[in-house]
Every structure is written in structure tokens, then in C-alpha cells.
Symmetry: C2
Subunit: 365 residues, 2 copies
DNA sequence: TTGAAAGCGCTAACAT
DNA sequence: ATGTTAGCGCTTTCAA
């Protein structure tokens, strides 16, 4: 047994004194093989450390897997544009990966559009679905229907509690909160409270938001118990942020603000306008406005969830699963990426571009 | 021309009324085809948007590419262990990638061992070399010899000036310095100087170190021109750091220290022992001691170059290049990763483990 | 200048 | 229960 020789099904057949058909049968547990020969063949297989030639296998199987990517319209936010970029990028390599991706876009403002996409996807009978279920109930319902049809589902960005997707790909929310607490504690004035701002709609739809708060507070309790903090739930408007922040600042000295969602920019705009001294603002996600305000210094810290890599990873995981039969871990957590002004360029050097070359992609909007 | 039909060499042959052999000749510019048929065939190819089937191609070519990975012994430092982890991980997927990786380890303390590895590698005639050329001259010499033998070289971690590897994979040193300056400025006491500490040996071998300093200083000049700073070159010993730091602290009030290399921990040990108040320490790389001191809080910030992903990327780039004939960009710069205590776990949840399962890997140490 | 045919390693249908 | 064989899409050799 030479170390560098690559053994094939033929070699095994010769050694075992059976035909290649038999080898194939034991390799795939197709039955109709006597226990004796089966054992013998299996012994040889493991002894020679046989590894099937993937190229040959997929050549003959020649199955074109298609997987559906259900995500938010990339024109609505840079965050979702990054998802789209990831999809584009990975599709370049799709023959390497052995599957094709069809993109379905829904509007972040419309549960209906999500549901409609879901219907279309199911009708197309994909071999897998990748989705960002930012609507909790609708996402759950789609997930259930996929289960019934035994279509594997990968969730990214947002996880739905009590579901068992093939894998969830995203960041650890609790840890994210802790990181932000550490950053603010590090840089904010010792005297002054911290404000935690939630966005009501997302609070309803994403259980992760509360995790971020829990993480944030747990850090304060552990490392900086004398720090006071307050929590507010706002709705998604400039007005709401302005009003609440005005009110908060009137009552208390605030030295740090943590916005638990991508709407960090509302607080950023407030700071840019009113320019109160000594307030450090940190929040989530590289959306257009957040990037701008990070550049102007009104936002100091952002946590990047790397949506681009999340989709890429999702597609690759499906490739591994469908083609190479590798079952992923139930969770794939990405590290918390801290973005400040000076490492922003490498993470995102382009603002959204409307892309007119959609021929290769199917969109449903 | 149906949109979803996949055309093959056979289809083209039929349409053009020639044999598949002819198609192959025009596809690969092998000549011996009349201009007329060549044109006709080319027209059909582009009209049908023909894409060769990679699986079939590599099946028949059946070339086993082997690439050599030249890196520092993973037992010497966690940083290099991460490189090794990356290599291990990517080798799991090596049949997917279509190449095998052989690892050659040299000692970080011995230029001789680097050279010897280089000799062995060249003797093995690999299809490509991935190296971390931490010895400038020796790395250059190996690079030149590869050039003469037209073996493509990918450099990671450290770049050698005036060379043109297939690609350099690493982080932007200038930007790294800027990021650290921003972090220290953000969190350090306004009153107090910054100290920039270099490690003499690495200063000689790696031009990147000066880039880090340049980035650091450029940020200070721009954003915080009133901040004074001093620069020291130390040798790689606890003693040197202790002596210099003692001396520096006697003369000046220091509120921030930037160590431009992985030896950040020497300064960290100093801080842990002498415990001077109000000094924020930041530096480079997730090496064992740095990780420990980040956990104890003596180091506040680390920049992670993600050596693990660097090797993985290197191998994947070779796969793309050798098999799919895609030429990479001359530089692949990773984003600057900021590591603080609370996002450390996700980046590195294990300390070095001595791995005894080396059967799959060739080592030359 | 062109065509025919073997074969890469494997799967699956069919034959025995 | 086991063997035989066609063919997946392509490259390459040899013949015409």
C-alpha cells in the first residue's frame, strides 16, 4: 500500500476479487451483497483509505441542484445589498460548488411580499432554501411547510426560536451586546449613564434584540456595576429618536448610547445636529447611513455581522450538504466584527450600486 | 436556444457540422483548424454561451496538483498553530479543491531551517508554493529560484518588497497602525504621551513594521496633533522591555502603548507586574501570551491578522489558479480585525494543542 | 485540416 | 448475489 497512490473503485474490485458493481453496492448500501463479501470489501476500503473521486461522481450524477435564496430587496438597504453581493460572488463559483442559486427578493416593509416569495419558491421545488426570516411568524410558517416537503432550510441573519434548520448562520447576539458594552465602557466618560435604544418593530420580530441587551447589561453588571443605564423602545422614525433623546438628555447626563439595531443612524443624526458633548454612540450593521455617520464620527462603533460572508457560507454549506453529504453544525456563529472609522474601508469600500445585470438571477419583485 | 439548456462540446460539434475534436482544437487554440471553421465554431460557442464542464475536464486531466506550504513550526507559537489549523481544515476539502498540500515547517529562530525547507521543496517540484517569508533575504532568494523554475508563489503574512508573487495575502499594515491609533486615542487619557515600541529583529526583516508606525503616526497627526509620542526599538526579551519601559515611565506620563509586533506581551507582563495606572496597551496578533494578557486586561486591544484564513485563502487561490485558470489580484488584503476581551472567544476558542496526528502531513522538522 | 475512438472514475440499468 | 456495460463531458492520441 503505497502512501501516495490514489485507489479507485477498480483497485478495490481487483483486490477483493469482485466486480466494480459490487463495490458500488457496498459503498452505497444498496443491499444485494452477501455479508461476507460486504465485510471483505469494507475492510479493504478502510484499509486503503479509499476516497471516492468527487469529480467522477458528480459528472455521472449530473444532477443540477438549485437552491433558493430568500432575502430582502437589495435596493432597500446596503446591508441587504451586501447579501446580494455575496450571492453574486458565490454564483461565480457555482459550477465549482455544483449548484445554482435563484434569488427571491421581498420587501422589508411587506410581510405579504415575503409570503408571496415563499409560495413561488415552494412551487419551484428547490433542493434547498436559504432565508433571512426577518418576519417571525411568516418565516416560521414557511419553515414548517419546508419541513413537510422535506426541503432543507438554512437560516441566516435572524434565527427563529424552536426551529431546527439545517444550520443557522449568524452572530452571537449576547456576545455582541457584551462587546458593545466593553467598547463604550472603554471610551465613554466615567460619569454618565448609558442608554440602550430598541426599535419596537424589530423587538417584536427578532428575539435576538433582547439578547443583545442582556449581553450589554451583563457586562456592565460584571465589570462596571456603578454604571447606570436606561432602556427605551422607539419606533422607526427620526422623530421618535429625536423626541426621546431630547427628553433623556434633559433628565440625565448620558455618556454612551447603544442602539441594538441598524437604526443607529437615527441617533447619529440627532448627535450630528444637536451636537451634545461627550456622547459615544455604538450600534449595529453597515447600512448606508451608519457608514456615513461613522465616517463623520457621529457613530463611533459598529458591529458588523458580515452578511456577505453569511450568504456565501450558506451556499457553501448547501454544497457540502447536498453534494458531499456533510451535515453541518446546527449553528455557525461568526465572530463579532468591530468596525471603527479606520478599518471600515476594508470591510466595505463601496456604497450601494444599482445593478442592472440581473440576467443571471431570477428576481420576483 | 433554450435558456436553461446546458450546451456541451457535442452540441456545438453537431451544430457546426464538425467533430468534437475540432471543437476542442478551437477551444484551446491548438491550431490545425481552418480559419473558416474556426470562426464558425467560435461564433456558435459565444452564441450558445458555452461553458466547459469543469468536472469532466478535471476528471480527464486527472492531474494531481501538489502545493507546498512553507511556514513556521506550529509548536513554537499559537499564531503559527493557527496557520497549521487552517492548513488542516482546508486539506479536509482538498479533493473538492483538486490539490494536495504538503506542509514544511521551519523554525522561527533559524534561517538555516528555512533554507533547508526551501531546498527540499524545490526538489519535490511542487506546482505551487505558499510561504510566509519572515526572513527577508532568504525568502527573496527562494522566491527568485521559484521564478526561474516558473513555480508560482503565493506569499502570506509577510510581503517581500519588489517581488511579484501570484498574490500576497495579508493585512494592510498602514491601515493597521491607523486603527490602533484610533483605538488608543479613543480610550486613553487625553493627557499623556503614546509610546510606539518596535522589536529590532522584526524591524530588520519586515518592512511592514515601519508601515504600521507610519499609519499610527499619520492618524495622530491628523486627528490628534497635540498628542506627543515617542518611539523605541527593543530587542526581543522581557528584560529589554522592562528596562526601557521603566525608563520611559520615569521620564514621561504615558497613557498609551502600541507594540508593533506580536511581542506585545512583554509590555503586558510589565504592566501586570508594575501596575502603573492609566496605560492602555495595544498590539498585534493572537499569540498565547497576548491572549492571556487580553483576558487579564493588561492588553486592551489586539489586531488579528487571521492567519488561519490567510492560509485557507492561499490554498483556495491556488485551486482557482491551477484548476480553473483564474489569475488572482496581486494583493488580497484582509480587513483589520479588532480584538478585545469580549470578542476574543469567537476568534480563538482554543489554546495551542500539540497535535500528534501528523500522518496526513509531511513535516521536515 | 479533420475525425474517430479510447478512457478519466464513477453510477445505474440491465444481465446473469 | 454478482457481473457487465453504457455513458456523464471532456482531453488526447492516432489515423485519415
Amino acid at each position: 500500500m503505497l502512501k501516495n497512490k490514489k485507489y479507485g473503485i477498480k483497485d478495490i474490485a481487483k483486490i477483493a476479487n469482485v466486480s466494480i458493481g459490487t463495490i458500488d453496492r457496498v459503498l452505497h448500501n444498496r443491499g444485494r451483497v452477501s455479508d461476507l463479501t460486504k465485510q471483505k470489501v469494507e475492510e479493504i476500503i478502510s484499509r486503503l483509505n479509499y476516497k471516492p473521486n468527487i469529480m467522477a461522481r458528480s459528472l455521472v450524477i449530473n444532477k443540477k441542484y438549485t437552491i433558493a435564496l430568500l432575502t430582502v430587496d437589495y435596493n432597500e438597504e446596503y446591508y441587504w445589498h451586501q447579501v446580494y453581493e455575496g450571492a453574486q460572488n458565490i454564483m461565480t463559483k457555482s459550477d465549482k460548488l455544483g449548484l445554482s442559486v435563484e434569488v427571491y427578493l421581498y420587501s422589508i416593509k411587506s410581510k405579504k411580499s415575503f409570503e408571496e416569495c415563499g409560495r413561488k419558491i415552494l412551487k419551484s421545488k428547490p433542493d434547498g432554501i436559504i432565508m433571512a426570516p426577518i418576519f417571525l411568524n411568516e418565516g416560521l410558517s414557511l419553515y414548517e411547510r419546508c419541513r413537510n416537503l422535506s426541503i432543507p432550510v438554512i437560516m441566516f441573519d435572524t434565527n427563529i426560536p424552536d426551529t431546527k434548520p439545517l444550520t443557522f448562520i449568524g452572530t452571537d447576539s449576547y456576545q455582541g451586546g457584551r462587546v458593545m458594552a466593553e467598547l463604550l465602557t472603554l471610551s465613554a466618560d466615567k460619569n454618565g449613564k448609558f442608554a440602550i435604544l430598541h426599535f419596537d418593530l424589530e423587538l417584536d420580530n427578532s428575539p435576538q434584540i433582547m439578547e443583545r441587551q442582556r449581553g450589554f447589561i451583563s457586562y456592565l453588571n460584571e465589570k462596571s456595576p456603578e454604571r447606570e443605564y436606561l432602556v427605551r423602545v422607539l419606533n422607526n422614525s427620526r422623530h421618535s429618536y429625536d423626541r426621546h433623546l431630547d427628553e433623556i438628555l434633559k433628565k440625565d447626563k448620558i455618556s454612551g448610547i447603544f442602539v441594538t439595531t441598524a437604526t443607529t443612524y437615527y441617533a447619529g443624526f440627532f448627535l450630528r445636529e444637536k451636537n451634545p458633548k461627550g456622547i459615544i454612540l455604538g450600534g449595529y450593521d453597515l447600512v448606508d447611513n451608519n457608514i456615513r455617520l461613522l465616517r463623520t464620527g457621529n457613530i463611533r462603533f459598529l458591529i458588523n455581522q458580515n452578511p456577505r460572508r453569511q450568504v456565501e457560507q450558506s451556499v457553501m454549506t448547501f454544497s457540502d450538504f447536498l453534494i458531499y453529504k456533510q451535515t453541518p453544525n446546527p449553528k455557525t456563529l461568526f465572530p463579532i466584527e468591530i468596525i471603527i472609522r479606520n478599518n471600515l474601508p476594508a470591510h466595505s469600500n463601496k456604497l450601494p450600486i444599482v445593478n442592472h445585470h440581473l440576467d443571471t438571477i431570477k428576481s420576483t419583485t
